[in-house]
Symmetry: D2
Subunit: 303 residues, 4 copies
């Protein structure tokens, strides 16, 4: 297309909508037991981790996604000591978790050890030092099994999972049965947060995840943020039985970040307000959907 | 790419970053005196107006852009009677302006009458009834000339212009000289708002526009919103010598919309809060740029 | 991609190999009873007829395909009076047939009258005057039915059909049962020619068509030519029980064209020699395939 | 585009015509002193060598290009002993040259030693054993300098050079001054052959190369062949002062290949006939062009 480039990564949102990222190199490609793993170097987003053809993280803006996923839940809790991360093989979710001085133990459960290995080798900016931190416990295995068999309690559970694809193993991690079990292991004071797909690309999936979490928890909120390398806004759902995320004020966010001496690039009180204030048409749509995802009848991403 | 589609509109953000929209038809194509004008029917965004290869508006989400551009300025003013729209040939900016019962006169100045004609013929959802409204005065001509020669005063001036391209005629409409003249014609109580390019695609351009407006006005604010068909967040700058946009509360927005019986799809108090709360890294970047665009040394969009 | 263009027609040869043609316009699009019919205006190939996403003919080079399909068969026969064209809705195959002064009757059987109508309206360069010629008889119907029910004899039968897709109706027109019936209606002196897909894109399909025709006729030959708008070489199979196409000399071709006062752009003795001289690797491959397509077990294009 | 692939190499023939090859990997990328060198692994063509964004050779079909370039010249000469290859860094041209038992010395002059090194490392199927052959002499340097300064005579000179781009160093190697010097170093019995760009993509460039060679030599011929990975037919020009390439019969080609016990995949008598028989419209166009490329006023590839 230009004198500079002739290699392209083309990612489809729908069969009739796609994005093209110019590539310098395909740094690494490997088919693991679970997925096609690629690390590519793009012109506009730096290194990009691509799983089964979908952008997971980019060097340029992974801080936005990971800060948005982790900090509201940590601050809502107030003094998290034990944190459970489901998925998150790149290590950047752990990186954000470990910024909190109250954290004593952070368990990460990822099914694909190749993602962890490749991220440690090629994407060190996402996990520098994390896997060597003595507070971290890495479990290679199925998040579903882990959550149903654990006998421990957790202050915060963070679901950094792949999307609920029909043919994929993750869809059960978006059902009411799973959320009920999460509620048990976090108790009345714990906080749960999950990535919840894009409210603009796949609004129904996003809304059903929210509705399903709301079925279980006393307090639930949805929020979203634009991620340039995803070429879309991305959604999250946060919930708790003891603490109301909708009441989290931006001044409190700033105070807590300062008190804990936490350095962020994207997240602060104003970013929090931005994410949790949802425009009218999205709000009306999300709140109009009244469908709960169950193991019997789960929600999937549209093909 | 799929059984459904083989025609694509490919739009470049940079030489190494592009977006592909699947097309059903190219409904209309015409080279006017100023630009290549296309109306295409896409699968995912409905009808799309494309000027010189850049998406201007889509049927699916034009309401977001136009509500975001118009309503904060109108509500900040409080009781606008005379409104000047620069550009905005599709008519949708006027459509939003005319929702305010206080408006007595709305003047629109667009350089390309073909855009107006084609929008009236093919994009009626954007301008239904607008050009027949007795309050509207349509001027085909150069916005720069109009602003410098007008002897009238205006309550609100809305710059819905094409981007400041080096080879284009619009770049002077983003300079400090132009903004000084706008300040004169709106006086102490008037409000000015301009589209300000994308804070993520072209952050420097966005920041310089903000900095340049700030050079002239006592109160200035930047805000942005995600537009799906633009595949990006889009930025705006609002300013006044008498009214501080940063002090506009979401409760006041809701109250004013209700008092004036204004129907919106995207915009309300919460959307306002979302747009005006800017995440930390963008805020820090925008406020770090200290360059004013002048006729001598204007800011351009990067090629 | 360039200052000139942003609309593209993308055609796939395989799921991992495609061609992009820049478009000025989509002149016409219509879903007929049988297929998606598009007339598009491209920058490099002029008007292009596209059926179900596949290029059928382009203004720039349709003469190559149609001359290559028609003239070898007509000249091999020597004095064709009754010619049957199967498919060929654009009219250009008829156009070439009618150049022969011996032709008294030319019957064309096409299943989709919308293709004929649209070609007459938008692609007149392909059929100017043809459908008004008193020698032409146009039948809208199924070529298979026609061939099995006709009681007439034909000097030349030309199969200008769509490819043998698994889900399509044309695949039976590439089976040994069909060719046996063709042999009956052309008798010992008649000539049959068929388009035979691309020997480089779909070599097995091409080879099976050849092998299947060879099962029926005494003399059979394959030949091919590069068609720029197809982005590939295209293959044909010619056969007869009385006349050997391999013995057709280029001097004879030139003499016959001259004797009949036939004007061609692509085809002459040297073009004939070019097409019928097949490079070693293709020849060896085609002759190595020993599979006959039958109604029970037909050959399809690979998906 | 499909479940299998999301990485694409997009190569432009013109600003409005391009080809997409699905990639498994970008095996190697390096910017040498002269060009951007890439070895990529494609789904449909195996390994592909790409210089400055243009396909040079693919694993699947490089034998067609290299056999077409080398064998007609070698057989026309009859008993070549000293052969000069200009360009040809991959080594495959040498590989074909060395098949002739009469060859005593084969000198290859390539400007970019990185191409040679990378081909030896990643594209061994193109040069297995070639650079270790005691008959081969490898010169890293400018072909123009070599040809003007050599004091030797050569039986066959083969120009396997990059296209005559305006900004490139190769365009002087397509001028009449260069061909005059080639005529001197091959004498009356020598044979010269050059790649001559695509007669369908860049017909004028192809025709001017032919016309320019014809200005110098007594006997000159053009020929071409379809190369799938080039997505086009590719042209060559062959010339001599003592031997007429147009008189080379296919029976003689087959006899010579057999006599010298030369194994080919593409080339034989029939392939020769195919290449040297040029369809009417190309022949008429090529012969109509009457422009000679000179150092003062060279022919370039169209941008």
């Amino acid at each position: 297309m230009s004198a500079r480039n002739w290699f392209w990564y083309i990612e489809f949102d729908t069969p009739t909508h796609a994005h093209m990222k110019g590539l310098k190199r395909i740094v690494y490609r490997h088919r693991s037991k679970y997925q096609d793993i690629v690390v590519a170097e793009s012109f506009d987003f730096g290194l990009v981790l691509i799983l089964d053809g979908k952008t997971q993280s980019s060097q340029k803006d992974e801080f936005i996604y990971h800060e948005a996923l982790v900090h509201p839940a940590m601050i809502l809790h107030g003094s998290p000591r034990r944190v459970l991360v489901l998925g998150g093989g790149e290590g950047a979710t752990l990186r954000e978790v470990l910024k909190y001085p109250t954290v004593e133990e952070a368990i990460m459960v990822d099914i694909d050890e190749d993602v962890v290995r490749i991220s440690r080798e090629y994407l060190r900016f996402m996990n520098e030092g994390v896997f060597e931190d003595r507070r971290v416990k890495l479990v290679i295995g199925d998040a579903l099994d882990y959550v149903f068999s654990t006998k421990d309690k957790y202050d915060v559970v963070i679901a950094d999972l792949s999307d609920p694809l029909e043919e994929g193993p993750a869809y059960k991690l978006y059902t009411v049965e799973f959320y009920r079990r999460v509620a048990e292991i976090i108790g009345d004071t714990g906080v749960f947060v999950t990535q919840a797909t894009s409210p603009t690309n796949t609004p129904r999936t996003h809304a059903v995840i929210y509705r399903t979490v709301r079925e279980v928890f006393r307090y639930t909120a949805y929020y979203h943020i634009f991620i340039p390398s995803f070429e879309a806004v991305w959604g999250f759902v946060i919930a708790s039985n003891g603490r109301d995320p909708r009441k989290l004020e931006s001044e409190h966010v700033d105070r807590e970040l300062h008190r804990n001496n936490i350095k962020t690039r994207f997240y602060d009180g104003e970013a929090h307000k931005h994410m949790f204030s949802v425009p009218k048409h999205l709000r009306e749509y999300i709140e109009s959907v009244d469908e709960v995802s169950t193991v019997e009848k789960p929600i999937y991403m549209p093909a």
